[in-house]
Symmetry: C2
Subunit: 293 residues, 2 copies
């Protein structure tokens, strides 16, 4: 069975691994991104790590890279990314394909996560799926008829910028009350005021009232976005992924309740709302399986 | 070239016609629905009108019916419709196919309108399209990869129930601030307070301040819903259809401006926002072309 290399380039760390065509993990590694050291430095270390991983796993048939920003698919560039302020037009494909001697595919990281959940994760084999990746920001990806839907210009699936309250917190996109301003790790930590999103979920589990209120607020904001998406697409599965989804039932149960308050029971009945089943591996596995497509 | 019969069953009138495979109109007719006279009476008059039309146009290869409510596709029933309070489980397909001697297809009326715009109207030949039908309520339909997307359970495209303000007006669906509560003819007339939605647009054209404010409010509510949809789907075309879309540029120019305030220029650039090019014929032509599929 062929093997595929996937690389998930994040703002804090880079996760990479080799998997089979069903997403079965054969090897994995991770390294710090060190954004401030620049893209040349990062690309050198990523390329080294990828070469080592391939040497360990044997040959790979293709390599996929998921990146959190705007990409130029034709030229294989990471054009820019909001969490990488000094990186511009990074030749990701050229750098990696030269070293690895294999084809390299570049795709948005949240699209990769959606793809991995549809192919190897919580929505394996379904016809349609929407994936909210809850991290520093909120990314998204949409699968329709078993294929990634990227829209008229590659920007579909910007699920973090579904507005749920026009009087809500300002968003970097220029709107107010985007899902990202409620359900990202950043938004939850800001609202909590005394720790990270994970701390907020931990404190909520212990019953601390301000933490419970924060978590309810975040989950309700996300639920409002999910409800809007269901009214438009009614997908088979909605997956909650990314770091915040590590909260598991504490997240997904609240989101399900918030959606049920908004969507007619008959319309909601065929839609499953679940947490990612791939966790931290979703990004790189999705990139690998996207390259394998 | 084969001909197809389409029937658009509305709360006030029934529009029907015969068209060719490209939506070219060969004959048309209309009659009052008379909801309060009951479904038996209406189905008898519709069947008579359909038979006359077919006699006039020659034979038809198939018949499609668009209805504004919940349907049972397997049994060919209009299960219920909010604007037809006493109608239940109307055997639309059985009644018509018996008389016409041809296959009859039942579909949601707003899905039919979306289909007609994608096949014969403002979005002819595009890969993806979303259609907002602005009438008594606000219906919707979504075309993805050239096909109607009905979702996991047939309820996708409920574009009138995209929430744009959780503190907005109450909606019959149980939510608040749905697009329907801003951009339906009903919502516009209620807000205007001294006439119909058409009167509001006419008075706005004459510069009457309360009418201008009403129209701006309606178009901004719709624009917020369109922006949410673009962030999720980024379709090639967004079509505004239904009675309110008769306002033409006075509607679409305002909606475009409202969307441009919300969606990043690069994401919006590939998306066309236009009014229906089929007007009152969109529903029945869509039903006919859906049956022809």
């Amino acid at each position: 069975m062929p093997a595929y290399l996937g690389i998930d380039l994040g703002g804090t760390s880079v996760k990479l691994g080799v998997c089979g065509p069903a997403g079965d993990v054969r090897a994995r590694a991770s390294l710090e991104t060190r954004v401030t050291a620049g893209s040349d430095d990062a690309m050198r270390r990523i390329t080294d790590a990828a070469r080592e991983l391939v040497a360990e796993a044997g040959t790979v048939a293709a390599c996929g890279v998921g990146v959190p920003g705007e990409i130029d698919r034709a030229r294989g560039l990471l054009v820019r990314a909001s969490h990488f302020p000094d990186w511009a037009d990074v030749p990701v494909v050229a750098r990696l394909s030269g070293t690895l001697g294999t084809s390299v595919t570049l795709e948005n990281d949240a699209n990769c996560s959606a793809w991995s959940e549809a192919r190897a994760g919580a929505g394996r084999g379904v016809r349609s799926l929407a994936c909210f990746t809850l991290g520093t920001g909120v990314g998204g990806g949409v699968i329709i008829d078993g294929d990634l839907w990227t829209g008229a210009g590659g920007a579909a699936g910007a699920l973090g910028h579904i507005v749920v309250d026009p009087n809500g917190p300002e968003c970097r996109c220029g709107q107010r009350g985007c899902v990202e301003q409620y359900a990202s790790a950043t938004a939850i930590a800001r609202r909590f005021g005394r720790g990270s999103a994970r701390d907020a979920f931990d404190a909520a589990r212990r019953g601390e009232p301000d933490a419970v209120a924060t978590v309810e607020w975040a989950c309700d904001g996300l639920a409002a976005g999910v409800a809007n998406l269901i009214h438009i697409l009614q997908p088979d599965v909605v997956v909650l992924a990314g770091g915040v989804a590590a909260a598991g039932d504490a997240l997904v149960d609240r989101v399900r309740r918030g959606v049920a308050r908004r969507v007619r029971a008959a319309w909601l009945a065929p839609v499953r709302i679940v947490c990612s089943s791939l966790g931290d591996d979703a990004g790189w596995i999705g990139a690998a399986l996207w390259a394998a497509r």
